[in-house]
């Protein structure tokens, strides 16, 4: 299909043109006095990225957002698997409460949940004479992992339920137990189908880490706010553009990759 290829090429050309226009716009603006503002941004860039003015050690900034997203995703994955299996359980005592919990978490705004976790989780917990502290970072991890985990459990449920019922019957007739069917038949097939959803959720979680600023950790927005107090009104716009670009540059490739996988997985629908 040659016409399709030329169409895509033309479209890519326009996107390139827009990118060039943006760069020229920035350059023209820089020459018209914007370079002073960009210098302000450049000076603060190490701080914005790593939380320390010299760029090392990493104590916060955008790097902290990335660490927060990774830690949160790990917790969310564990939570999502447990919750998904619980909602797929044949026992109503397990299934109904876990469905209720899943829907509650899915229907609550991330920001409000994060705030609630901030106050529900104590500052530290005493167990057997040991005091386990809960710093704001841990609270942020949990606060973001809860809704992500609930959404992930829905993704896993969908993937498991999309496996044709014939697979269950075939495995049962071969004498597998329920656990074995999940382990050897269903999950290996469902796994492929849940990867794109998992990646999309990760991108969503990364975007939501911007909210973690309310817990008081030194994430990119907290640092931005403290920096902006010392900057002129005009410079603020430049700072915002920089941060928006950081998030876009991190999340967009993930979204593209997830979409490509999704298309690849769509083919093997039995």
């Amino acid at each position: 299909m040659d016409s399709v290829r030329t169409y895509e090429n033309k479209k890519r050309g326009v996107l390139l043109l827009i990118a060039l226009a943006v760069i020229t716009g920035i350059l023209v603006d820089a020459m018209a006095g914007g370079s002073e503002q960009w210098q302000r941004v450049a000076i603060r860039l190490p701080l914005i990225l790593t939380g320390s003015g010299s760029g090392w050690p990493i104590t916060g900034g955008f790097a902290l957002n990335i660490m927060l997203s990774i830690a949160s995703m790990a917790v969310a994955t564990a939570l999502g698997i447990v919750l998904a299996l619980a909602t797929l359980s044949r026992s109503a005592f397990v299934r109904i409460p876990s469905l209720a919990l899943m829907n509650f978490l899915r229907n609550s705004p991330w920001l409000v949940l994060l705030f609630a976790m901030l106050y529900i989780i104590p500052f530290e917990v005493h167990v057997f004479g040991l005091s386990v502290p809960f710093p704001p970072f841990v609270k942020a991890v949990i606060g973001l992992a809860l809704p992500t985990g609930a959404n992930l459990s829905e993704v896993i449920r969908g993937a498991v339920q999309s496996i044709h019922s014939g697979q269950w019957e075939a495995a049962r007739s071969l004498g597998y137990t329920t656990t074995q069917i999940y382990r050897y038949v269903i999950l290996p097939q469902a796994f492929r189908r849940m990867i794109p959803g998992w990646m999309n959720l990760y991108a969503l979680l990364m975007i939501a880490t911007a909210l973690a600023t309310v817990t008081g950790i030194q994430d990119v927005l907290t640092i931005l706010n403290t920096s902006l107090a010392m900057e002129s009104e005009r410079a603020i716009v430049y700072f915002y553009i920089t941060i928006l670009f950081l998030f876009f540059a991190y999340c967009y490739p993930i979204a593209v990759f997830a979409r490509r996988l999704e298309r690849a997985v769509k083919g093997d629908n039995l």
């Binding site: 326009v14 827009i18 229907n107 609630a116 529900i120 975007i207 911007a210």
Partner: protein, 238 residues
Amino acid sequence: MLGLDFSWLGDATYQQWLLVGVTNTIELAAISSVAAVIIGMLGALALTLRIFWLEAIVELFVEFFRNTPPLLQMLFAYFTLSTLGLKVTDPATGLSVPLLSAFACAAISLSLFGGALAIEAFRSGIETMPRAIIEAARSLGYSRWSRFWRVEAPIATRICLPALTNILTNLFKTTSQASVITVPELMYYAGQIYNDNLRTLEVMLLILVIYVALVSVITFAMARLERWMAFPGYGTGR
């Protein structure tokens, strides 16, 4: 166990604040939802035209709003629209005041965010239209427009409904972030209340429950709509 104390709920001032907060939240969500659906339809329609430069622009718009935090979008809109540009001089006081309120900035930014999600949802809805149905419409001699309005749109609408539910609930939940730019919605009043009575945990729990209840209403209503609109004989249809 936690020693929760909700006696402050009897205070008329707090009740008033909560009521105003809920009203503003619903208003903000309703305005941006309607705008988002309109943007979504226009964008998806633009994509069906297969004009390469238009498609490039629409895709760029979608990807930008999908891959940056809505909170930052809102802050950016607030600073650029309200603090920097678009100011009018108040004739009474002679002071220059922003033309757009925080509420307006939040509504604009949420509409664009929701619109980007809606374009994507509607586009994939049109894409998953069975090709055979389109072929049947063509063989009956429908023109491009007539085919879109009479055959593709009614079917795609039903395919898109579940995704639309997600967008509407997502948008409703995201309105809570408008509190950061001082829009007096529910989350904002939550802060006002606990700053006043210092019952942070109780206030946040109550707010959480209110949000979940409101979002559940949307989910429930959309599920009803989906059942009502389903094709008889297919899936959930009668």
